[in-house]
Subunit: 237 residues, 4 copies
């Protein structure tokens, strides 16, 4: 994952993960199955991408010649994807566990990085543990609009933040990379995280408005249809 | 905000923010709308005050000449006001988020200050995160007198504490400023914070007594009126 | 409080504070009033003891001659007693606040002490914050046997631990004081804290058994009396 | 416990501790009594093993000759076993306390160890405090499948992790021990902890499937029997 592509893949993985899956209608259950398969596929893709990129560990864990572990960072990423690939259905407990484990691995992962690297991942941890806590509360309280809103906004932030990390640590256009020890960069990146969050809230408010208007129209249309059917059946009788 | 005036403005902003907005009566809803507009106005005033004071950043973020960020501290303050300016209505979740984000920004804001500066802002964080937690609990539990009492007392403390910070770090009368490294000053400021809190509790107890007496009299007066109306209607029949 | 007597007074203060005050019976309400007065009296005694012992600050806060605060440690202790002296009735919220504030003051109080001093007070904080959390939960959940048991056992531990601190830091018999930097002493004091807790649990189990047996006998005696009265009334009819 | 055997004993102790004891049926209550006795026996065995191994403290706490505490590490372990030996019946509060105390003792226990030793025990603390929190929630919420699943999986991880600690710190086959300061070892052990957890989840899923199938068959068999009895009684009438 030590590349722009790796972070972009992870960001996309979490962005598509965000959608809450509460389908009461029968015709949506097929969609749900499809979604579960898509998630498992993305998790497998992540694991394979980590292991089999050129220069990856190719499933080797220990090098007996020089008594060293082989690319532990990659193995940590593989373990993260593993817990997201466990078939979880709609179980919020397993979602919560997967996120707590992702957070713990990240926490120990970044302990020996440079100051900027550590801080930018620490901000990521805010969103990771927030979503984990949301799912944990969902286990005991059940669906609650506040939990729903908060976890979706944090999922969006987590996804877009992975892209941000990629841009900061591995600038895709061969410009000069950021000064990793400049304290001003750390201060800017903190403010920037909350701008991502404000943008996530804005997107949700926009989506909500669109869907609200559409369903209004649909239910209006359906009401018309129902009225028309009722009138027709009245006429036939 | 690096001035006495900036802290005094922030303190006043949070002091007027404190009032819980539970109006069941119709004639109070106009008051509520007025209050919401007052809040948004204060938030805009805060953002404008941060950006356009003489020597402020005037919305510039990055200086391309010397490759430096422009006045990041001010941008952090602007971001804080931004989340308080988002129209929130009565939603405790958005209040909670705005306060958590304020707290996080403060936390990363003070990491590189002197010991006294850091400590005096850390004490502020106690009140900020306390109120954030109160609002969060309100999302799930609903209105509870204990939450109400605790959050109002902490809002009062937060507001008066901003004034205290202004007096300590930027003494308005040109006397000698406090020794920022003396451990005794840190110890005194800790005790002082809880004196502010004790004063906040005293003010609430005083207000409660006044309002209790007044409403007693009003309900007494109304009871008299009701009795008089009942007697009159009885006479007329 | 920097003496054996001071810690012994504080320990006794908290030991007599422990009793839960749930009296439904009318004849106990007089006892409750007496208890409230005893608590306020002890709090006042603590505050006076801190201020007016020989060599105390005698209510002086700032020395204008050498521009120094007067005996801030003593003022911290006075503030702690202040919050316990606020008339609280049975309000668990105010109990919780008093304990949280006691804990916070302790925390900032011990930051610059020797390792053993710091550790022995840190163990005290475990019991302080535990009780504060118990009272906070009581606000929302109400009386619960588990909360009752846990807070009483922690109150007992807190009280006896104050005596332990007195014995360790200010040995009353003029023997050699403990080596404050020896790591073995820190390890022993940690184990010792949990022995205090085990003893507290034992005392509660003992009291429970005694009271259980007594009330069994009383209800047995009352049942006999009721039976006898029933028989008598039957005979008289 | 400073040996492979000690850690293996502790691991086995916690592995046999894991089973949730909810028996509604009468014939299981004898099993429960047996289980309680087994637990107390294991706790006593642990305490005796700590005190009376060759070179142990043999209940001596303080050596008056050289003014030193005798083998405090061993006394800490004895105290841990003590709280697990207190007869607790099914009380989740006492289970929670025993685990919190175990966690606290561990925390202070490892403060002066090498980096790897500290980290491997810190990972253990994750499982210890997780289970303690589960039991605490059980006090207020009651039995909940999510708590049950999480605490059992963490108990399994705790038990197997004790074995892992034994293998890492005291390799039973006289090979070279692990380099305690190599950062790669710390990174590997972190990933390894979550593999233990994934294995625990796998074991539970396997057991669940087996038990589900068995009880299906039993209830099928019982249904057949009931049908057969119903038919017989119908014939007899």
């Amino acid at each position: 994952m030590g590349s722009f592509q790796g972070h972009a893949l992870a960001g996309t993985f979490f962005l598509q993960h965000m959608k809450p899956s509460i389908y009461t209608n029968l015709q949506f259950q097929r969609l749900e199955l499809f979604e579960g398969m898509a998630k498992a596929f993305f998790a497998l893709l992540g694991m394979a991408g980590e292991q089999f990129v050129p220069g990856g560990p190719y499933l080797h864990l220990y090098n007996k010649d020089d008594h060293k572990w082989v690319m532990l960072t990659t193995w940590q990423h593989t373990t993260m994807y593993l817990f997201f690939g466990i078939p979880r259905g709609l179980n919020p407990l397993m979602n919560s566990l997967a996120l707590f484990i992702e957070g713990c691995l990240f926490y120990f992962h970044i302990m020996h990085c440079s100051a900027l690297d550590q801080h930018i991942h620490f901000l990521l941890l805010i969103s990771v543990f927030s979503i984990a806590l949301c799912y944990l509360l969902e286990v005991f309280i059940g669906n609650h609009p506040a939990l729903e809103l908060f976890s979706v906004s944090m999922f969006l932030t987590q996804g877009s933040w992975f892209w941000q990390i990629g841009f900061v640590l591995y600038p895709p256009w061969q410009g000069p990379s950021w000064d990793q020890t400049d304290h001003d960069n750390i201060m800017f990146i903190t403010v920037c995280f909350f701008w991502h969050y404000a943008a996530a809230l804005l997107i949700i408010a926009f989506n909500y408005t669109i869907i609200y208007c559409c369903t209004e129209n649909i239910s209006l249309a359906r009401n018309c249809e129902v009225t028309w059917l009722a009138e027709k059946s009245w006429l036939l009788n």
